[in-house]
């Protein structure tokens, strides 16, 4: 059992564009047997720190420029490659974020779990296999006995992550580095994995460096928290202290800008508010409250009746019921939130409503018209009124069109605006409306950040002056601070334009924040639906309850 002391670590990337100071002079320590959480948003340098410890960074371009990492009295930065090889996997193990790409698709799971023992000659081949099976059972891969020859792709995401944990812990390492180990998982699975990790590490006596962007998750597991921001450590403290009395404005902001169950449905604060950087359109924000929807025809503006969408799987020929007999109504000017885990059919539902996916049975009515029967010109008009915003703002914009082109095109197609000039003017005002500098409109999408791109997507969706927008996980891939900005933007637009949203997300907190009504989906069916407030505070179904309970408590309440 040993502790780790990181002192003045500097890791820079030497790229063609210049030096990126990914980790710039950080100092913290991991006491023996403790779990230290390392928190920061993307680009803060937390993963680089983690990889620097094991010296797994590709060099070039990465270069450790200074500092020391003392592990059991030995400076890892000075250690030779062969020495590092001895340490890796034996004394220091690592769990990576994406268990799919990090497990070798060409080796069986058992083989891979046993491998560290073989590499470090800690067991014979037979013995290693047995130990691996035992370990897998211990981490909860219960069916491993029947699936000794199974490959990673035959496992679910949660099981794969369990296998990763087994692989990391099989050598009983002194230190476990966990790099975003639960980010790719559903909440219910995440909760289980966190519990398991905590329990096992305690049993083995490993210290843990737990890296995550999610303060709530870290609070669940860590004894101490280190917060990083742009390559620097801005604050470190025990978990309790950090939540109770954060000192650094960034940390304060991180805690505050997450939507919670208990928070009210007003605008979320953003990081900029705390850091003294005024965000775009500051004065507009405060005045926004949920405006009343247009009076006429609020009830059942969009009606979904017994909607089913089935897919035939290409090879086996099995029918997958992605959406199974779903009925719901979306009132005009309101937001309906759909919550569900991956594979619950929520995305398909959204696409089916927009007629982007063929419907197997049932129907969708929009203003008392069956959308399946809309043809020709009417279809164009239908498209004009209904828009969608996707999860990944990187993939949602054609990389070969400038922002201006991307925004002009829908207007041309839908004959909005008389002249090109008029349309360009509209582009400018749209960009202003979503909080972007109009001067940037001649640029290409890859020159913008994720949050900015999502704003562009929103602007594009707005360019046809729609009445209804499906937001498909549109903030899920974002850092909390950016997420807050986009959520705020959506609220403002709804207020200003009287939009109707179908807000699809796996994150109950986010949905609760933005939606008026919530429907919980599981395996293609709606499990429970109703008023947002009542669903969250008083869930009726067991599944909804489970979903609630899986959310880290700090995330639910915003306090520790």
């Amino acid at each position: 059992m040993s502790d780790v002391n990181i002192k003045g670590l500097k890791t820079f990337f030497h790229t063609r564009e210049g030096v990126v100071k990914a980790v710039n002079d950080i100092t913290f320590s991991i006491p023996p047997g403790e779990v230290v959480g390392l928190v920061g948003e993307s680009g803060s340098g937390k993963s680089v720190t983690c990889h620097s410890l094991l010296q797994l960074l590709p060099s070039p371009p990465a270069q450790v420029e200074g500092g020391e990492i003392i592990f059991s009295g030995e400076d890892l930065l000075q250690a030779k490659e062969w020495r590092m090889r001895e340490l890796r996997g034996k004394s220091i193990s690592m769990i990576f974020q994406d268990p799919m790409s990090c497990l070798n698709p060409y080796m069986t799971v058992v083989e891979q779990v046993a491998e560290p023992l073989l590499i470090h000659k800690m067991a014979s081949e037979e013995d290693a296999k047995q130990q691996a099976i035992d370990m897998l059972l211990r981490v909860g891969v219960n069916k491993i006995k029947e699936r000794l020859n199974a490959y990673p792709h035959e496992f679910s995401g949660g099981m794969r992550q369990r296998a990763m944990i087994a692989m990391a812990l099989i050598t009983k390492p002194d230190l476990l580095l966990a790099d975003e180990p639960t980010t790719a998982l559903d909440v219910t699975v995440q909760a289980k994995i966190l519990k398991l990790l905590k329990k096992l590490c305690a049993e083995i006596g490993s210290s843990v460096l737990f890296v995550s962007h999610d303060l709530g998750v870290v609070a669940e597991i860590a004894d101490r928290v280190v917060v990083m921001y742009r390559g620097k450590v801005v604050e470190q403290n025990t978990t309790q202290e950090l939540f109770r009395s954060p000192t650094h404005p960034y940390v304060k902001a991180l805690i505050a800008c997450r939507p919670t169950f208990t928070g009210n449905s007003e605008m979320l604060p953003t990081v900029e508010d705390f850091m003294g950087n005024p965000s775009p359109m500051p004065e507009k924000r405060k005045q926004v409250k949920k405006s009343d929807p247009p009076a006429e025809n609020t009830e059942g503006w969009i009606k979904v009746r017994d909607l089913s969408v089935h897919f035939r799987q290409a090879k086996q020929g099995d029918v997958v019921k992605a959406v199974d007999q779903v009925s719901l109504t979306i009132p005009r000017g309101k937001t309906l939130g759909i919550v569900g885990e991956s594979g619950s059919g929520k995305t398909t539902l959204g696409r089916a409503i927009l007629r982007l996916t063929p419907i197997t049975s049932g129907n969708v009515q929009w203003q008392d018209q069956d959308i399946a029967s809309v043809q020709g010109k009417d279809l164009l008009a239908f498209r004009k009124k209904m828009q969608i915003i996707f999860q990944d703002p990187y993939a949602s914009l054609n990389p070969r069109l400038t922002i201006e082109q991307a925004l002009l095109e829908p207007m041309q197609v839908h004959r909005i605006g008389q002249s090109r000039k008029e349309r360009v003017d509209r582009v400018v005002s749209l960009l202003e409306e979503v909080g972007l500098e109009p001067d940037y409109r001649r640029r290409y999408p890859h020159e913008f950040s994720g949050g900015q791109r999502q704003r562009i997507c929103v602007a594009r969706a707005l360019s046809t002056e729609p009445e209804f927008i499906v937001c498909d996980e549109c903030v899920s891939a974002m850092d909390v601070s950016v997420q807050a900005q986009v959520l705020n933007l959506l609220s403002q637009l709804q207020a200003a334009r009287g939009l109707t949203y179908l807000f699809i997300s796996h994150d109950l907190c986010v949905v609760k924040h933005i939606a008026d009504e919530i429907a919980v989906m599981r395996a293609g069916k709606i499990v429970e639906s109703g008023d947002a407030e009542s669903i969250c505070l008083n869930p009726q179904e067991k599944y909804t309850q489970e979903l609630m309970d899986s959310i880290p408590s700090t995330s639910r309440t915003g306090t520790f």
């Binding site: 914009l397 001649r442 950040s449």
Partner: protein, 296 residues
């Protein structure tokens, strides 16, 4: 890992750089590709303006000057009929490069359209179209060309249209796979949600994004076609005399390697050089156009 928000905030103020421009910058810093590009430009220049510097015609015979080695008079020497090899090599370059380009364009035209339609329409149409491609793939290729040769034998250009018509199979497969990927991309979904017509989506959104792989494959097809032309020359199925292509010159030279080595040296050098360059440019383009490519 690389940050998005922080980088984005520090975005430079200069005018927008398109992906093409970006790729060009990356290509420029690939030394091999850049050198290849310059060399290829020189080879092309040699083929097209080279004859201006030569006082001989490619088919001008001087039976008293057979098999002369390189000299001041004849820079690359002369061949068995006393024709100037410099003139012939540069003229042959024109033919070989033109043939490569023509056949490649034909294969692109057919392959891209076919693959794009198959990938975009999908379903049964896709299955049927790809089945056809599989059938054609099982047709022994060389054999097909020789049979086409017999049918189109009278016209060289027609022949290479025919070769292009055979070469498109791989292009169709690549295009189809890429289209399938792109079709699922969210920007295509949003284009559909915005009510864009299929034609607009295909030609305005999908096609430009296919350019990368298409260009890469095209640069690799040109040398393949040039090699094929050379192989056909070996069988005597190449260009009509007294025209020459690099392939036919090399074939002639290979037979006289020990008597007149310059006959294979010069055309061979240019042939290999352009193939070399095209391959390196192709590789460079692949790296430059692939956004995932590491920046080291």
């Amino acid at each position: 890992m690389a940050g998005s928000e922080s980088e984005g905030a520090a975005m430079s103020t200069k005018a927008g750089a398109s992906l093409t421009r970006d790729a060009w910058i990356r290509l420029r810093s690939n030394r091999m590709a850049l050198v290849s590009l310059i060399l290829l430009a020189l080879v092309v220049a040699f083929s097209f303006i080279g004859p201006l510097f030569c006082e001989y015609q490619y088919d001008e015979q001087n039976l008293d000057e057979q098999f002369l080695g390189p000299s001041k008079q004849h820079w690359f020497g002369t061949d068995s009929l006393g024709r100037d090899l410099f003139a012939r090599t540069s003229y042959g370059g024109r033919i070989s490069l033109a043939v490569g380009l023509l056949a490649t364009s034909v294969s692109l035209l057919i392959g891209v359209t076919y693959g794009m339609v198959a990938g975009y329409v999908g379903g049964k149409t896709d299955a049927f179209l790809m089945r056809m491609v599989d059938i054609l793939y099982s047709l022994p290729f060389t054999i097909f060309v020789i049979l086409l040769m017999v049918l189109f034998g009278r016209n060289f250009l027609l022949l290479f249209l025919a070769i292009g018509a055979v070469e498109w199979l791989t292009m169709a497969r690549i295009t189809r796979a890429q289209t399938l990927n792109l079709k699922r991309a969210e920007f295509i979904e949003s284009a559909r949600a915005l009510g864009f017509s299929h034609a607009r989506i295909l030609f305005h959104h999908i096609l430009p994004n296919l350019l990368g792989p298409i260009i890469v494959y095209a640069t690799l097809t040109v040398p393949a076609v040039m090699l094929l032309e050379a192989a056909l020359s070996f069988l005597g199925l190449g260009v009509q005399a007294p025209m020459a292509s690099w392939g036919s010159l090399i074939k002639e030279g290979a037979e006289k390697m020990d008597i007149a080595p310059w006959l294979i040296l010069f055309p061979g050098l240019f042939f290999c050089l352009s193939l070399f360059c095209l391959n390196f440019i192709g590789d460079g383009l692949r790296d430059a156009l692939d956004p995932k490519s590491s920046k080291d």
